[in-house]
């Protein structure tokens, strides 16, 4: 399987074409915009919290398939999870792409594994991590 075949798998292209939790949210508790100025990819995250639990999450954005699919996967994985679970997942995801760590995602997060191919294309790592950096900023506030 060639590099672009392993990257542009069905699962990534499906998230790109049919993004989950897509749209702006009124009265969100957390709102954060993220941008990669050099390529112009944009992601905007909205979160509603119930105590420590992410009770609602959504995103809007524009950019390449990797940046937008990654945001879609992020919202899908974190819907209904806690902030501390989110922090762990950010660590796991960024570790996979930036530190070459073997990811150990729980089964319900398996879509994220399709992103591992991105690390073979260094120019695109910033696309894959945009939503995750944006979330990090949002919950760090």
């Amino acid at each position: 399987m060639s590099l672009s075949d392993s990257l542009y798998q069905e699962v990534l292209l499906d998230h790109y074409q049919n993004p989950r939790h897509h749209g702006k949210m009124e009265h969100s508790d957390l709102h954060q915009e993220g941008v990669n100025p050099l390529c112009g990819d944009e992601v905007e995250l909205f979160l509603k919290l119930n105590g420590d639990i992410i009770s609602e999450i959504s995103f809007v954005g524009k950019g390449c398939s990797i940046s937008q699919a990654s945001a879609s996967m992020l919202t899908d994985c974190l819907y209904g999870k806690t902030i501390s679970e989110a922090k762990l997942l950010i660590q796991e995801f960024k570790g996979m792409l930036l530190e070459d760590k073997v990811p150990n995602f729980p089964e319900e997060y398996e879509d994220l594994e399709s992103m591992e191919a991105v690390k073979k294309i260094p120019a695109r790592i910033k696309c894959a991590t945009l939503a995750w950096n944006t979330l990090e900023k949002a919950i760090g506030k």
Partner: protein, 413 residues
């Protein structure tokens, strides 16, 4: 010398290398051109046998380096048709050349309420320095609008370039669409109102025979690295009577005449505008690049690019379904093709082509106002230079077919 494409290709070592196991197809010369062996060898020779700082040393090496550096200045002035060498100022790049004009000439001559005219197709380097100056001086930026085919809409030129305009600054050729602007009409109007004209020649000088005096440019800015030379060398040409009035914009070594503890007097041109040790090897290497371009001939390069452009446009039209930007009038266009694959982001196209060894540029190309005008996030851009072939175009089409296959899986649904 006749245009010998095979010989030219042999002169560029990188063109025979492989990318991802495939022969390199380099279609991004608008970002930075490849370098011929003669330029690489000249730089190597300088460091191996001629290295010394210039303008100061009384010993042989310094004299030799100075002589070569100043020879490159003379060659540059002849290449662009300037009256003499001292009107050629070396900077780091086109961006620095434009900033030099903004900081030195602009801060002296632009005042509150004055107007600066740009176009909607400018590179950020010929936009942001003027935004900064306009903010500082409370001056006004105005824009010549575009026609749908990316040529300039000059129908209201007299209303846009009024008596309040002090400067008209625009590119000779667009880095996004390859549009070659009709400068003569704009310069004529600028003269009527007494405005100065700055031409961003970053894309123009490498592709088009250019004569700054015949074309009556006040300022002309460009870079060595897009014309076979090394990175880190920019050029600013300006008419001597304008340069004479421009105050220094950076202080330091080389730009002074006499220095006391509390004040200094400044050197004559060109040293007054070149503070500090310059990119000596780069300027000397640039001299070799100009020699190479002259040996091939700028008109021959233009003719070759037009042939490639026509061939590529025809094939991309035949491919079907692509959105192409820019005029079809080849008299108004250089060897740059911007396009989009509907439903596929340019970055995804770029990554898939990269795997096939094909280098194109994707994104907004530092021209975001144009992307806003078109309502797009970016484009895929293939750009040609003297060493490109019709086979390169064919490879691009094969790569695009692969993009279609990969994204077709979801686009069909």
């Amino acid at each position: 010398m006749s245009f010998d494409l095979e010989k030219i290709r042999r002169d560029f070592p990188i063109l025979s290398t492989q990318m991802n196991g495939k022969p390199l197809v380099f279609l991004d010369s608008a970002a930075s051109s490849q370098k011929p062996k003669s330029v690489i060898d000249t730089i190597r020779k300088y460091y191996e046998a001629e290295n010394a700082n210039i303008h100061r040393g009384v010993y042989y090496l310094s004299q030799k380096a100075t002589e070569k550096y100043e020879m490159a200045r003379i060659r540059t002035s002849r290449f662009i048709g300037a009256a003499c060498a001292k009107v050629v100022i070396f900077t780091r790049n086109t961006t620095e050349s434009i900033n030099l004009v903004a900081q030195s000439w602009g801060r002296t001559n632009i005042h509150e309420g004055d107007e600066i005219v740009l176009t909607e197709l400018e590179h950020h380097s010929n936009l942001v320095p003027w935004q900064m100056l306009a903010q500082e001086k409370q001056a006004v930026l105005k824009f010549i609008p575009l026609n749908q085919d990316s040529t300039l809409d000059l129908s209201n030129l007299d209303e846009i370039i009024t008596e309040r305009v002090k400067l008209v600054a625009l590119a000779q050729m667009s880095n996004v669409t390859g549009t070659i602007h009709d400068l003569s009409a704009i310069i004529r109007r600028a003269r009527e109102v007494g405005a100065k004209v700055l031409i961003d020649g970053a894309q123009g000088i490498c592709h088009l025979p250019t004569n700054v005096q015949k074309e009556d440019f006040d300022f002309y800015a460009f870079s060595a690295h897009k014309m076979l030379g090394p990175t880190g060398v920019g050029i600013l040409y300006a008419k001597e009577e304008i340069l004479d009035t421009m105050p220094p914009w950076m202080g330091g070594g080389d730009m002074i005449s006499k220095v006391w503890k509390d004040k200094s007097t400044y050197a004559d041109l060109p040293a007054r505008l070149e503070a500090g040790t310059p990119n000596i090897s780069g300027v000397i290497g640039f001299g070799a690049a100009l020699e190479y371009l002259e040996s091939v001939g700028m008109q021959e390069i233009r003719n070759h690019e037009l042939e490639l452009l026509q061939y590529a446009l025809d094939r991309l039209e035949d491919f079907g379904g692509l959105e192409l930007y820019g005029t079809n009038d080849l008299n108004k266009r250089g060897g740059v093709i911007s396009f989009n694959f509907p439903g596929v982001h340019p970055h995804d196209v770029g990554s898939i082509l990269d795997e096939e060894g094909i280098a194109i540029r994707v994104g907004h190309h530092c021209a975001q106002p144009f992307m806003d005008f078109k309502g797009i996030a970016g484009t895929c851009r293939a750009s040609f230079y003297l060493y490109n072939t019709k086979e390169d175009v064919d490879s691009l089409l094969v790569g695009l077919k692969k993009v279609k296959e990969i994204f077709g899986r979801v686009l069909k649904r």
